[in-house]
Amino acid sequence: MSTTQNYDAIIVGGGWAGSAIAWKLGLAGKKVLILEAGIPFQSDNREEFVETFFLATAKTPEAPYTQNYNAPRPSVLDIKQIPNPPEPPADCSSPIVSIDKGGYFIQQGPMPFGSTYERLAGGTSWHWLGTCLRLVPNDFKLKSTYGVGVDWPISYNDLSPYYDEAEFEIGVSADVDEQMIHGITFSPDYIYPMQRIPPSILDQVLTEGLKNVAIDNNPLTVTGTPAGRNGVSNIMNDGTVYNNGRRLCQGNTNCTPICPIQAKYDATITLNKALQTGNVDILYQTVASNILIDTATGEVTGIEYKQYETKNGPQTGSGTATGSKYIIAAHAIEAAKLLLMSNSQLPAGVANTSGQVGRNLMDHPVNLSWGSMPDPVYPFRGPLSTSGIETTRDGSFRNTRAAYRIEIGNEGWNWPAGSPYTQLQGYVGEQGLFGQDLISQIQHDFVRQFRLGYLIEQLPEETNYIVPSANCKDNLGIPRPEIHYNLDDYTRAGFQAAEQATVTIFGAVNATPSTANRVATGGEFTYQNETYYSNGAGHVMGTHRMGDDKTTSVTDANMKSWDHDNLYIVGCGSFPTGATANPTLTMMALAFKASDAIIADLDLNA
């Protein structure tokens, strides 16, 4: 056991939020130590990951990153329907076997939780898609506007300057005028770092075809999706040309699971900047396992960690990291798990007087619709998504059903139906096509494929929660997350509305819908006698929500624990409601807000 030197701040997690805060604190001259559970970020990471991806037979979001049994993570391949009652997990006593067989999560249902994350330096940003939408003002006040969910302790305007900052750090390509929907406003003279990414041919076809179509009085306007990938530079207000030194997007159509050329932002960029301040240290392969509390003052006094050398090897070290402030940035599920499993001194776990830690687990359950266009739209070219329909994200219907946004996919039926693999198997294996006939078939069918993804809103519910498993541990003996999850009628009605929208949209562009070759059926459910399929979006939210009231929330609006004065909990887990925008831009804005508060706190005590 070793104890580290005394830092100004200890950060658990060198992923997105952790890197952002480390960078800010480092710039402010604060001494920071990051504990990162996963493997380090090194020069050969990208070559190795891309090669692993090429060689993977299932090209899932996790494909480039091999399982690490000492800091395991879930995989979409493990998402299956859950029997009632759920079966006990297999081989729990041998972690490696058990994780290989059934996956990392202990899914207790009734529905499986469909989202995943990564545990390595840079975190889940390695395989994020790049979508950087701002929330709309009503997303911050769902309760007061529509009588459902809860309100956030902050408003759009409070976050607006932090959005500016996050968009600059990520390097977002978008167009201000296009983004001003549902009351979104921008700072005076605001300019995104780069111009919007050019639309795909599919985007153009849908823009044209949906010109005069509306749903619930919202016109189906197709807009460029703000993207954390490099486009054409703008001149910033100070007269300089924005240039982050990375390459322009070459349309590798692979943002999830890995951008081969780092045209897409990932958190290793900010992590590197944090390390460059000279004030930030990092311990890799160091898994936080327990938060120590001074029960008299309520202050956190240290974070215990375990270390290992190889992904499936034994524990090789342990220690306690100590500092003035503690920041948990370990991803929504791992953060909640860590708080709850630190229960030797506080039986309900750390920061959990409200009982809300781990609860209100939310995602943006995705409804996929796919089909064929009458004319070629040439998919599998360009970023996975370049445009979407955002007008559907707000409206009075939110009194009774979930809102959604529509992501337009440029990768044909790859996500819903395993294209081109599955269809080719059919052409060659079942239809016996070869030579010119095969070419003609491919050139007729594949160029017409398209898909829409509806990201559907989910409300916070106490009954959707994660707890540390009592029996199942990972290779370091740390509990695995046990998940209880379901979709309520509000969200299910959102699926129904999405399917109705599909009828409208496909009709308007004369597209032929398909349900063939559905690859993921784990999220099947019925609602009003219809069957729907839910997929994970990777947007894990709500597990340590912020609020105005310490009896119903885990942190205040600065993400400081109500219970422990020197503990901050950051990440998408802070979201009181999930709304419909991909969450991470908002999360980074919140992380910058928390950074300001932490720096102010440290300066006060200095």
Partner: protein
């Protein structure tokens, strides 16, 4: 250490050295007329004449050997002409070392000015006067802001000193940028045609755009100056207050460790990429590693090879751990043999010629230039240990693994190069370093 496969290629080399020559011209302007004259007078093997383009004989049909050989010869021919004494009629290395032609070319920071204004006209006398080395990253975002963002990491030599980088271009390339106002953001945004630098051509005896990237180490302990082309340089580290990097300027003798020549030619629109290194840079994976290396220490077994240095990266920080670089792809045997024969020519002029300590690592060119966007480059992967130190491939279970599209390939990477306006920039990232002209306040 370099005693491999000494094959004498006399006849082949001689035949090669009498085709398509241009005389070196001290103004740096390459004029076809003089080139034609030089054909008559120059008969010796080492020539100051820069080739316009590679020439492939009809009988060259084997990619790996015959065709590659022609490109390698082109590379050496270019190297010799570019390193020819800039302002004298002496031969290359006649006095051991000499100042060179390419060092009188325009530096990138002389072309892309911080205020986006028009660069000064071409003038080799001015350009070559002093060497100012500011870059510690291979691909700086903004030239004055050179330690940013270090995405791939600096290269640190055995004395803890950062390797410095320099990029220059020939007049043909400069003129194209100058005439088309590609030296600033606005000019690039307004340029609506496809950027197409002139390509060298043998029949019409015209030169194409050429850019040279050089890497230099600061000469110090353990370095034998007799084995390097050296120069006196002013080294500048601009301040980055956020990172506590202080503005520093000092004079130093620097030694050339890497030289990368990119030549655009009519038949090779994806450019021909010739890459050279000083022979003491690093050992080759799987081969003996005895001897003194610039970027490798046999006794430092704990260092991960080809990995970025520990942060923070600050050229002024003393005591930084040196880079541990290993060449993952051995130099092709035919290329080594050619290099050996060229070295003989150097030592025949002067046994102390520094140029005998430079080797050709390889030449990459587009094999099917018109069929595919990147032209089907060969060799598929190619890296200069000083310029692409960290993306040479990965080592898995004792074997080198190359990743398509990620492991270093000159063409593969430069194929993605664009202007600030997002247009393809014809294989150069340089245009991305342009600044904007300050908009006049409304």
């Amino acid at each position: 250490m370099r005693k491999t496969n000494v094959i004498i290629l006399g006849a082949v080399i001689m035949a090669f050295f009498v085709s398509f020559y241009a005389c070196h011209n001290p103004t740096g302007q390459t004029s076809p007329k003089e080139a034609a004259d030089s054909l008559k007078t120059s008969e010796t093997a080492l020539r100051d004449s820069l080739p316009y383009n590679v020439s492939i004989a009809k009988t060259d049909t084997v990619l790996d050997t015959q065709i590659r050989r022609e490109f390698d010869k082109f590379s050496w021919q270019s190297f010799i002409a570019l390193n020819w004494p800039a302002d004298s009629t002496e031969k290359i290395g006649e006095h051991g070392d000499n100042n060179t032609v390419w060092e009188t070319w325009k530096e990138n920071y002389q072309v892309f000015l911080p205020d986006g204004s028009k660069p000064e006209p071409w003038d080799t006398a001015k350009q070559g006067r002093q060497k100012l080395l500011v870059q510690v990253g291979k691909t700086p975002t903004v030239l004055t802001d050179v330690t940013q963002p270090f995405l791939t990491g600096p290269l640190i030599d055995q004395n803890g000193q950062y390797t410095r980088f320099q990029i220059v271009m020939n007049k043909e390339m400069f003129d194209y940028i100058d005439t088309n106002t590609l030296y600033n953001y606005q000019g690039q945004l307004n340029f609506k045609k496809t950027i197409d630098f002139p390509g060298g051509d043998n029949p019409t005896k015209t030169y194409g755009a050429i850019m040279v990237k050089a890497s230099w180490k600061i000469m110090g302990k353990g370095d034998d100056p007799a084995r390097f082309h050296t120069a006196k340089a002013t080294i500048h580290v601009p301040a980055i207050p956020d990172r506590h990097i202080k503005d520093t300027t000092f004079q130093a003798v620097v030694g050339l460790v890497g030289l990368h020549i990119g030549t655009k030619s009519k038949t090779n629109p994806q450019w021909i990429w010739s890459t050279f290194e000083q022979v003491d840079n690093c050992p080759t994976f799987g081969e003996p590693d005895n001897g003194h290396y610039n970027f490798y220490d046999k006794s430092a077994t704990g260092r991960k090879i080809n990995n970025k240095p520990d942060e923070p990266w600050d050229p002024n920080r003393p005591g930084q751990t040196p880079s541990q670089i290993v060449r993952l792809t051995p130099v092709f045997s035919g290329t080594r043999a050619l290099t050996d024969s060229i070295h003989k020519l150097f030592t025949a002029v002067n046994p102390k010629s520094v140029w005998q300590y430079y080797e050709l690592v390889g030449t990459q060119w587009p094999v099917h230039a018109n069929q595919l966007p990147a032209g089907d480059p060969f060799p598929v992967f190619m890296a200069n240990a000083t310029l692409e130190s960290y993306i040479q491939g990965t080592v898995k279970a004792g074997k080198v693994v190359y990743t398509q599209g990620v492991t270093s390939s000159c063409i593969g990477c430069h194929n993605g190069a664009t202007t600030l306006g997002g247009r393809t920039s014809d294989f150069t990232y340089l245009l991305r370093t342009a600044a904007a002209v300050k908009p006049t306040k409304k």
